[in-house]
């Protein structure tokens, strides 16, 4: 009779209620939390303590790699692979390398920003249990969801439902795995 579930999900009407609920759940001691909203909410990021991510570092490394690749490519071609002596001018003509070095920096940094975003979010993800809740389709329209996952140490089906009901949601649903 008792099937395992992925999580319990509470539905809210507005961002204020969701942020308050997320704070309450953190205070209660729940840690395996996620919240879903149709637009980014700064306060929610604070409430769930999500501020640190590695994306800036990834972009920095991508940019440095791109800049180095651009510069070394030009150095290799103009000095080693295909040197052209124009009236004795230096082969290592760095001022003329600036533009391509710059463009390659931006290109690699931007590509690593997008790939880093996808990697850190674990996308593309064709299946996620949250979509098993029919009303979850509204998460991309006008509803706000708080999700407490079953793998949370404090999770207990009955008690967590009881807790979520105290937050005055529109509805609490069980999420099939």
């Amino acid at each position: 009779m008792i099937k395992p579930i992925y999580a319990l999900m509470a539905e809210f009407d507005n961002p204020t209620a969701l942020v308050a609920a997320a704070r309450a759940a953190r205070e209660k001691g729940y840690r395996k939390l996620d919240a879903y909203s149709p637009f980014p909410i700064e306060e929610l990021t604070d409430a769930l303590h999500l501020h640190h991510n590695k994306l800036p570092l990834i972009v920095l490394l991508g940019g440095i790699a791109g800049g180095l690749a651009g510069y070394l490519l030009q150095y290799y071609v103009t000095v080693i692979y295909f040197p052209i002596n124009v009236a004795g001018r230096p082969l290592h003509s760095w001022p003329s390398y600036i533009v391509i070095t710059f463009e390659m920096t931006i290109l690699f940094a931007a590509i690593s920003a997008v790939l880093g975003l996808l990697a850190l979010c674990g996308l593309p993800m064709p299946y996620h249990p949250a979509f098993n809740v029919p009303r979850f389709a509204l998460a991309s329209r006008n509803r706000f969801f708080l999700c407490i996952e079953a793998r949370d140490p404090l999770f207990d089906r009955a008690r967590t439902i009881e807790f979520l009901e105290t937050l005055e949601p529109r509805e609490v649903s069980e999420v099939a795995p």
């Binding site: 637009f39 003329s96 940094a109 991309s140």
Partner: protein, 458 residues
Amino acid sequence: MADEPNVHQPKTDIAPGYTFGTVTDQIASVVLTRRTPVFWYASFGVGLVLLLLFLLAVGLLFVKGVGIWGLRTPVMWGFAITNFVWWIGIGHAGTLISAILLLLNQRWRNSINRFAEAMTLFAVACAGMFPILHLGRPWLAYWLFPYPNTMGVQPNFRSPLVWDVFAVSTYATVSMLFWFVGLMPDLATLRDRTHNRFARFAYGILAMGWRGSARHWSVYETASLLLAGLATPLVLSVHTVVSFDFTIAIVPGWHTTFLPPYFVAGAIYSGFAMVLALAIPLRSVYGLQGLITDRHLDNSAKVMLATGLIVAYAYMLETFSAWYGGNTYEQALVWHRMTGPYRISYWSLILCNILAPQALWFKKVRSQPALLFVSAIVVLIGMWLERYVIIVSSLAQDFLPSSWSVFQATRWDWLTYIGTIGLFLFLFFLFIRLLPMISIFEVRTLLPAAKVEEEAQS
């Protein structure tokens, strides 16, 4: 965002009365449920016909070569390069709106950035074709990139033309990535709203499983800020590098240091003109006046006026520095532009770019969409003429009077140019039909209800 100082003076970015649901439904309905208006079919049809003419012109070009254009010594850069600079300049407004205004926290941009970015993408696609078609043997365009080859040669990295290859291809790639990242949450909305199985599958694949998780949003916000920060110097560099194609050469009229900032200002000028030319018909056909409000048009017109004044200053500076610099060739060039065979183009560009836009000083003009539309078209024509005059008149009368000649555009020149307008319309209206033209999730953040009320705290 929560502690904005001006919360007490409610200056709304969109019309009052919207909710999360109605915003979503209104924008998504254009793609999902509403009948496609006749306007769409007409514009798409015009685009398609012109695109077919473009294919004809390009087909003939492939068979016969660039001789079908009016390129004759000494004018070897004619319409193709003019169109290239014009199109790529138009693209700049999209990046300015999506990146620079994001960094400056100008939240009114949220309802015009999506289609402005699409405009960028398609304008760059049109622009990128011209240098390639101009190559003579366009099928060897990949020689522009460095790659290991059996010929044992590599591009000359000291040439601004090679810089341009890198700048434009980087710009196209980064614009595409930025646009796609912005689309992801809206694709998820379309996936969840559509009832069509195929559409759900297609939007679902493109949305990559986006579900609006707070964890994702926090990375997402970082990513869009970083991309905006990268796109800002990029957009300024692209037209600078385009101007290097001219300034590094010693041709009179090209070899000046003020060309890069002048080109960037001109690019934004023509780009905002294109934004207005697209936004005004779109918002009235699709009834989006509540989202693309008069304030958006007003702000865009102000940007147009400001950049137009920079361009006007550049024209004055050009004339002044030719006179003050004392270089005979520069002086002769300016004189030839004003009185020679290109005088009609020159004075019409002064009329279109400097005199006509002064009307935008008046609030009455800025609040009349029809007048704004006309002035945007005038600026677009003026900016095309500007590039034409810079490129062609400088080449036509160079150092040796014995080699002077006048450029005569052929019908294939015109057809190729108008054909790319067709390609642009074709792609743009395809975009309008298939993707949300206004960023839904960013407009949601503009609603008063999106603000989290803090009473329990403190």
